[in-house]
Symmetry: C2
Subunit: 410 residues, 2 copies
């Protein structure tokens, strides 16, 4: 019997992703990539990391414990740091509100397993993070796709989904992946109110929140929920779960992220995490904690400066070169600019031409949609290339779009 | 609405484990633990690890890449090393037969998601590894519990399970956790033949295989399947999936393990791993690979010597002190001795007395059974204590068992 015939229904539902196939192309050094949502390794805090490891080496007992099995919940000082960092005026987070995971991706995995039964409705933005769709699809939910505009989720569409009943809403309110949109404060408040009105939990993914290049983003959904409920009610009635990660602000290969939620939910997530992989590397958690308390704030300031210049370079180049039939977002932070090509232009076909002709890569937007839409959209990342390379790449991409648009229009 | 009411059926099926509650007690330094199946941190190869990190520090480009996102399949040199290491005379493993995971625990998670639908029958030994039961239970299977004797799985019981039809058999053929049994070669051969006769895949967990203290264990199920099928047929018809880990032979907090299987199965596992947590820490995989190629063999020889002495000390102490109403296994390797107390003695109640009275911990055996059995059994680990501490602990434990037995018998 072939293995395919042995697969569970859930496994059959998990399919190869566009991004994955693309990442293979990126091994070719001739290709300039605007595809991956990855940080620039040249900016990693290596000197600080070396100091941390040296300090461990000089304390053999702690170093040995760093290499041993450790509690599933995570390294206590790191959980304490996160609880203190995310605590809001109204919500005093405790360590039992924090679970350490292998990046926010595993937070999504554990939440999906904990909350989704086959056939359950869940609400996601259109477009939204592809990796979340991959996780959720492995639980075979029914997607309620929520339309967005340049300010992110449309509250009336959120309400329409909530009215139908759904297990949760998944959202990235700050500098969204892939669309670059940031939800304004009044809209955030409305979404949190709707969540309580219809009793729908909300997963708030804050992966890009610290990476702002103009003003800081509005209060998080968690903060707003705190204002709405107050401390005493939040621990019992809070519906917002907040995900965080060190992958964008420190280094992805630490594989350290977290989930913040009501203690009774965290308790169940811990059991699933224990079954999943026992615990996240103790060593990596210690490094993440030391980086967090010693260098994170200055480091993120540097990232804002460098990524901000790259954001500016991409926006300026697109303004200069793009045909005016193509629209794009101007993100206030994060890593992505979102292009909407003229109707009828297929971004996948454009990529197939861009790779050999312009030697550049991007992600066609269709994969970020659960509703079959977005065929004429593109996600561009500005995080890993210099302003000069960005300018050159956008020039070539724009020329290609102009050419292909004229083909479509004639 | 309380969070409990939002949990998926799968999440409800995952319950708190005995081992987990026990590990909390172990934070108390007064308690001598024979509970955890964990390596002794005093034996970790720290000097070699320091050399590896220093070498990385002196090569900044590679070091930065070590901290970046990387392919889901795993670090190629590590996959190559594993493929070469596990290759048998009949099965020449390729990198596409190897997926790197966060320890063998995550290998189990991915296999469970890929192969088990709710209600599917799966076959497990009684007793078996608790962590496997935790993962499998999260898919809500039907357990076919297979009886064991001092040589592990009983082939006639395996056949009885296979005849009923099941998605797979999970087994630890070498120095089993928790029972310490090793399946002899003829019995292994019979199990592999039965797997092919009834078309049932077999998950072979080799976590303890390298830790033998007398003779090396018999050929693995994978090797035997190679002998049965030959190379050309294995890649298409192989039913054995083999799991490995560096947690017992190197250091657990690297969180590096692997799955070896047919390429068409690995391909699906990669998709699920990608959805689960993107990839295993690049940094940790590089360290694991460097340790593997530079020091693993000498290091494991040292482990065999030290753990072998501890095994001997535990066996000698039990022979000296235990009342003869209590039987125990003499394991040829691994970390565990398995005790069977007189009928009617409850190991959980014994533990509740052992903790305050003898200040020692062990794992009551019931948790390793899916059939409600094993209430009068105990798992003892000899891996982390010196021969002197082991002798003292076994003396106290034996005295307690003698006293409690006399209570039961009178």
């Amino acid at each position: 019997m072939r293995w395919e015939n042995r697969f569970s229904k859930d496994a059959v539902a998990v399919d190869a992703s566009e991004i994955r196939e693309l990442l293979k192309v990126l091994a070719d050094p001739r290709i300039i990539s605007f595809a991956g949502g990855i940080p620039d390794p040249a900016l990693f805090p290596m000197a600080e990391m070396n100091k941390i490891v040296s300090a461990l080496e000089s304390d053999p007992d702690i170093y040995r414990q760093a290499m041993q099995y450790s509690p599933t919940e995570g390294y206590l000082p790191l959980r304490e740091w996160i609880a203190a960092r995310v605590t809001t005026p109204q919500i005093s987070l405790q360590t039992e509100n924090v679970l350490i995971t292998n990046g926010a991706q595993q937070s999504l995995t554990l939440l999906a397993s904990t909350l989704i039964d086959n056939g359950d409705a869940i609400a996601v933005a259109s477009p939204t993070y592809l990796g979340a769709l991959q996780v959720f699809s492995g639980r075979r939910p029914r997607y309620l796709s929520i339309a967005t505009d340049e300010d992110g989720l449309l509250p009336e569409e959120v309400e329409r989904a909530f009215k139908q009943g759904c297990k949760f809403l998944y959202t990235i309110p700050d500098f969204q992946n892939p669309g670059g949109m940031t939800i304004p404060e009044d809209r955030r408040r409305r979404i949190v109110e709707l969540a309580h009105q219809y009793d729908v939990p909300v997963i708030e993914d804050t992966a890009y929140r610290a990476l702002y290049y103009d003003a800081p983003p509005p209060p998080s959904l968690l903060e707003i929920e705190g204002q709405l409920l107050g401390e005493e009610r939040w621990q019992d009635e809070g519906l917002v779960m907040q995900l965080g990660t060190v992958s964008k602000t420190m280094m992805p290969a630490l594989r350290v992220g977290w989930t913040i939620a009501a203690a009774s939910l965290i308790e169940k997530l811990v059991l699933l995490k224990q079954a999943n992989d026992l615990h996240t590397s103790t060593f990596n958690q210690i490094i993440a904690h030391e980086l967090a308390i010693n260098v994170l704030d200055q480091h993120v300031e540097k990232l804002r400066e460098v990524y901000g210049q790259r954001r500016d370079a991409m926006v300026a180049a697109l303004q200069k070169y793009l045909p005016n039939s193509t629209r794009f977002t101007v993100p206030g932070g994060g890593m992505f600019v979102w292009l909407t090509l003229p109707e009828g232009l297929d971004a996948k076909i454009l990529l197939e031409k861009a790779l050999p002709e312009a030697e550049l890569a991007f992600v066609p937007g269709a994969s970020f949609h659960t509703d079959g839409g977005g065929k004429n959209t593109i996600r561009l990342s500005f995080s890993t290339n210099s302003p000069e390379v960005i300018d050159d790449g956008m020039k070539k991409l724009s020329a290609l779009i102009s050419r292909e648009s004229s083909v479509v229009l004639t």
